[in-house]
């Protein structure tokens, strides 16, 4: 297996935690709310899923519980930031720190323990294709994530729910004036984003690298937030961005296999360097951000 095949085969799985968390955050931001607690919500989801799977509860229950736990944590954010109209940036950071703290607390006795991941499911025929065949051998969670990506895209492209979320993000006052419950819809969006971050954390701890180590989310929540901007709040671009980051984070491993003389620390910091570079490039084009950006992002809504 050469480096290209290795990266193609692993890219989607590596991208999945980014993609789940970023799509959740995209929905939150489209509704006009900035929740910076993604990293902490992922960490909480990760530890909850790990504990359940470790004790034999199974992956399905693990994912559901992780989603629920992070959604509850995000509702705490919603109460403070939307209910009491506290500053969203500060609240998000605080909730994120809380999530990381909780994950360290719950995970203390599970440090370095392992579980088994999920089996890979191959698409018959397609997986036989040389070079790109690896793309079609993925575990069930990856397939479900791809379906969710398609679903979210369709919701924003075709449904009234998507339309209402976009309208609230652009002009909450006008949306209120025509009779939409702005706060309730924003709370729902935040909870959805929380659940998605929980799934993302669960994928990281019980499927992608099925072992528990404190701090294992390792900044992936922050990259997910950057991905939302990187993808200019569009599902398709966020998907491509997540794949890029998935591929970049595998490059380090691939390069080690080819025995290139590059320090491993530099290789493992590649995703973060790429994040900074790409964000810089995107931000240079203000037209792009303005056209797709969310006008009321981060602003509290008062009637």
């Amino acid at each position: 297996m050469n480096a290209i095949e290795f990266i193609l085969a692993g890219m989607l799985a590596a991208a999945t935690p980014f993609l789940l968390a970023a799509l959740g955050e995209m929905v939150v931001e489209r509704a006009g709310v900035l929740n910076l607690g993604v990293e902490g919500m992922m960490a909480l989801g990760a530890v909850i899923a790990f504990i359940i799977v470790y004790h034999g509860g199974g992956h399905v229950l693990g994912f559901v519980a992780a989603g629920l736990a992070s959604a509850i944590l995000s509702l705490l954010f919603a109460v403070i930031a939307l209910g009491f109209r506290a500053n969203q940036v500060a609240t998000g950071l605080a909730i994120g720190i809380l999530g990381q703290g909780l994950s360290a607390l719950f995970g203390k006795t599970y440090e370095s323990l392992t579980v088994t991941g999920l089996p890979k499911l191959a698409v018959p025929g397609l997986s036989e294709i040389p070079v790109i065949g690896g793309l079609f051998v993925q575990d069930a969670a990856v397939w479900l994530t791809l379906a969710a990506t398609l679903g979210i895209w369709a919701v924003f492209a075709y449904t009234k729910v998507g339309l209402v979320i976009r309208a609230i993000g652009e002009n909450p006052k006008a949306a209120h004036a025509i009779g939409y419950p702005v706060i309730a819809i924003r709370v729902a969006a935040v909870a959805f984003g929380g659940a998605m971050a929980g799934f993302a954390g669960a994928y990281a701890s019980v499927v992608y690298t099925p072992l528990w180590a404190d701090g294992m989310i390792a900044g992936r929540g922050w990259i997910a937030i950057a991905l939302v901007v990187f993808g200019t709040w569009l599902t398709g671009r966020i998907f491509l961005g997540a794949c890029l980051f998935g591929a970049v984070s595998l490059m380090g491993l691939a390069a080690q296999a080819t025995a290139l003389d590059v320090p491993s620390q530099l290789l493992s910091s590649l995703p973060y360097i790429v994040t900074i570079v790409v964000l810089g490039i995107i931000s240079a084009d203000r037209r792009l951000l303005k056209l797709n950006g969310v006008a009321s992002l981060g602003e509290p809504f008062e009637r």
Binding site: E170, N171, A174, A177, I178, K290, A295
Partner: protein, 507 residues
Amino acid sequence: MTAPLLSLRGISKSYGEVRANQGVDLDVAPRSIHAILGENGAGKSTLMKLIYGVEQPDDGTVAWQGEILSLASPAEARRKGIGMVFQHFSLFETLTVVENIQLVVQGRKADLIDRVKALGRDFGLEVDPLADVHALSVGERQRVEIIRCLMTDPKLLILDEPTSVLPPQSVGKLFETLRRLRDGGVSILFISHKLDEIRAICDRATILRAGRVTGNVDPREHDAHDLARMMIGRDMPEPMPALPRSGGEKQLEIVGLDYRPDDPFAVPLSNISLTVRAGEILGIAGISGNGQSELSALISGETRLPREATDRIFMMGQDVGTFGAAARRRLGFAFVPEDRLGRGAVPEMSLVLNSLLTAHPLGLKRHGLVDRAKAAAFTKDCIRQYDVRTPGPEAEAGALSGGNLQKFIVGREIMLAPRLLFVAQPTWGVDIGAASAIRRRLVALRNEGMAILVISEELEELFELCDFIQVLYHGTLSDPLVTRDTRPEEIGRYMIGAHSAAAKALA
């Protein structure tokens, strides 16, 4: 007389100390275009909010088709058959026309597109259902708002100052639409302070002054003079006569300026040229959104030109294209921006501190520190001279009404004794008496030799003030027209671009 569709009795509403409505009675007949006439601050908007369910009255009753009604929300009002088109539109700019309508009306997209087209044909409200709202002109946006209201089948349609955003030609078209709606069985509440319009279209007028009803008449039986007296309680003040002058020094000159903004929603400017001389007032007419904010920012120095664009903007003879706002002010330039809160004044700061923002060079500081006594004296002077209604110089700017804050900002800038004064929308939201005082002051300053540039949407205002008028349309500026040789209809043609189209057809 038939039973009224809507009937208010003894409606009162107070906000703290301010009594916005006191004992208002109002009857709107079926199939009627009923005017609510009054100055800014007379309580028109409050009354409409009460009818539309945005706010609840403290006292009094509302009867709708004979039944007593208490509305908790706009959604409920819409269900009863009351629709409202706001002055500042409540459309979503990043969505298409039909998406905006989908948010309010149930139905499949394809059906809604057909209904939009059908309403457009029936009532003269043509608009492309699939266009993005941010790409539409102001008149088209208004049509979308009206269509959106009509799709909920209202029996009463409230229009808040609908003509304030339209050029003269489109006003005629709107009136035609309103007449057709009335004939189709919809009553219309038409809020305005423009007397001629009310006499042209309304069959009933209720006049408000300081929260009370001061008249309930058939506007076709009264002349504008009578209506004005009921509205402001006295005769209209006479305008200040302008002394003929010419040939002053060029204080502002813009030569062939092109500008492409970064912001995709902003208007690019092309080949802008204008000259303002000492002792002259130049007015820039046009419907807002045709490049006014971009041009204002370029003149004020908020937007600087790139280093390579030389010899485009001159002030007092100097090339100032790359100068910032402060450097331009040091040359003797003063500026009243269009948005009072945030650009003209800091809402959270006191009037004294707001004076310091631009008036600090007038000796309001000593050894680099603020001289509080002098700053307070300056502020008091400004409050007195410009009749600013406020508890005192320590009041927060944001606590003043829009009109009073405008008087304060205009006063502050005039007291700087600039050589070049630029005022965007000088009397926007200011009541008639104060507006006329501001206009008289501007003419007096012109007579003393100040160069003044005014951007305004109000044609009557420009005709009263200006020596020359240029019209801004789609980011291009017409040649200067001598005001006394020009009729408003000609300006109106430029405002909708009909003039340039005709010129192109000839060429």
